[in-house]
């Protein structure tokens, strides 16, 4: 099963198995990772599942939709080039080892 490495804002890391077809957000919520809130349940409506994708992994992800782009403007923490909504990153074997950094705030 592919792994995701969640790095929180104090640099504490956790490696979680996130199955093919499951989003990075769902992987976090199912495993008690505090820094992802996911208020709208993965509908790209609330921007509380915001993550900063590690530089090395950005190119591996599918391009974001116009909706995700718009929602990221509403994220509580600063938007960066590496910002993505983790509910829109769906795991595949090709994303094994994906590293995401959690912002300081989601609300």
């Amino acid at each position: 099963m592919p792994n995701v490495i969640y790095v929180d804002s104090s640099d504490v890391q956790r490696t979680i198995d996130v199955a093919d077809g499951v989003s990075v957000m769902q992987g976090a919520v199912a495993n008690g990772i505090d820094g992802i809130v996911a208020e709208c349940g993965g509908n790209a409506m609330c921007a509380t599942c915001h993550v900063y994708v590690d530089e090395a992994d950005l190119a591996r992800l599918a391009a974001m939709t116009a909706d995700e782009d718009a929602l990221l403007d509403g994220a509580a923490s600063e938007r960066r080039e590496s910002s993505r909504l983790s509910c829109q990153i769906v795991m595949t074997a090709g994303l094994d080892g994906l590293v995401v950094h959690l912002p300081e705030r989601q609300v």
Partner: protein, 403 residues
């Protein structure tokens, strides 16, 4: 400092209250009373994704069971039946009693039932997981479907049923869809899109009687026509669950009455979410809001107060509804709109209605146009407005309007 919090209701508001209390450093006991036999779960998917999927309730749970254990949030599978305010205790259906330092009522709302002549036991509602699971199975046989009510729930369900190939008729007493909640321009857009998908609407009628036939049902409408159906689903609004409050002598109106800090008449009882009637700084009047945003933001507000950081509730209302391919998003409350400015093409597949009252922007309705919605949330959230002439100018990028 309060020693213990009892939260009655494990929906969006109740669960968020428990989560936020721990996040804010509350160390006392948290008991979350859940009157359904499932782990606390999300409601929005019940009319949409859950009906289309394989029926795994685990996909709906807010958090896994371990989360509650790790956070020392005690899930109590029982139903609250009475509050003894003097004793600071809640009696449960099992006979148990829970003491509280502070009580949070997050009891939500229950679907209104249709009361007409005939086979009313056959009318289904999209109300909870149990009912949604029954509907999911029914939809697999592609039934002739009659939906009563063209509000958000009715339309979401209708679009879902249609996507599974069902013949769908929707009846609505008003003259347009979502009449209570959106502008006429937005109503007409959604009616057009749903009709293109093959849904048939019947406006200005209601159902008078349902007769069981050998093959399904016959619904008699108020205009004398009959509609045949195998499945009848009603989405005609909800009523707040206020019985506990009423019986305990707390003020109630069209919801449990709370002040600007979401406190009831009793200083040791708060209320949050779909069940509350609260003073809205956005509507400038008392309102009851049925939305995930209101539930979660009110939960955060009281959790801050209970951990020493009180502030009045002033969160901007926002809302979404996914109907088939159409994503409706609303920022603000359009009550009292006296002027609208459109952006985008209402005859296309993406447009917004900017709603003004006395020259000030009060709400933005958007369909498939998340950027306008986010501009609306930012501007309205900051108490600001955008000049209608600017909104009307398609050449202006509204994002630049936000500092």
């Amino acid at each position: 400092m309060i020693s213990s919090v009892v939260i009655v209701g494990a929906g969006h508001a109740g669960v968020q209250a428990a989560i936020s209390l721990r996040q804010n450093g509350f160390e006392g006991a948290i008991k979350l009373v859940n009157n359904e036999p499932y782990l606390p779960y999300q409601r929005p998917p019940l009319s949409k994704a859950y009906l289309k999927g394989a029926g795994d309730p685990n996909t709906l749970a807010f958090r896994p069971a371990q989360f509650y254990a790790d956070q020392r949030i005690e899930l109590i599978g029982d139903r609250a039946i009475a509050i003894n305010r003097a004793a600071h205790a809640v009696r449960l259906a099992s006979g148990e009693s829970l003491s509280y330092g502070h009580l949070v009522l997050a009891t939500g709302a229950t679907h209104r039932r249709l009361s007409i002549a005939g086979a009313t036991a056959e009318i289904a509602y999209v109300s909870n997981l149990l009912e949604a699971e029954a509907l999911r199975q029914r939809l697999q046989s592609v039934p002739r479907t009659l939906v009563i009510g063209a509000g958000f729930i009715g339309l979401e369900f209708a679009a879902t049923a249609r996507s599974k190939g069902a013949k769908v008729d929707v009846i609505e007493l008003a003259t347009r869809v979502m009449a209570r909640a959106v502008t006429p321009e937005m109503s007409h857009y959604f009616q057009r899109k749903h009709e293109i998908a093959g849904i048939t609407f019947h406006f200005g009628v209601q159902i008078e009687q349902i007769v069981q036939e050998t093959d399904g049902f016959r619904a008699r409408l108020s205009d004398g026509r009959d509609l045949a159906a195998d499945l009848i689903v009603a989405g005609i609004g909800v009523q707040p669950n206020i019985d506990l409050a009423v019986d305990a002598g707390l003020s109630t109106a069209s919801g449990i009455v709370v002040d600007a800090n979401l406190l009831t008449d009793d200083p040791d009882i708060s209320a949050i979410g779909d069940c509350t009637f609260f003073p809205s700084v956005h509507a400038h009047e008392g309102v009851r809001l049925e939305s995930v945003q209101n539930a979660t933001d009110q939960a955060r507000c009281i959790s801050a107060r209970l951990t020493g950081k009180p502030h009045p509730y002033a969160s901007l209302p926002w809302f979404w509804s996914d109907q088939g391919e159409e994503k409706l998003q609303i920022a603000g409350l359009a009550v009292g709109t006296d002027r609208t400015v459109l952006r985008g093409d209402p005859d296309g597949s993406s447009f917004s209605v900017f709603c003004y009252k006395a020259g000030k922007l009060i709400a933005v309705e958007s369909v498939n146009r998340a950027a306008d919605h986010m501009v609306g949330r930012k501007v309205l959230g900051a108490g600001k407005t955008i000049d209608p002439e600017v909104v009307a100018d398609a050449n202006v990028d509204l994002k630049r309007m936000i500092a």
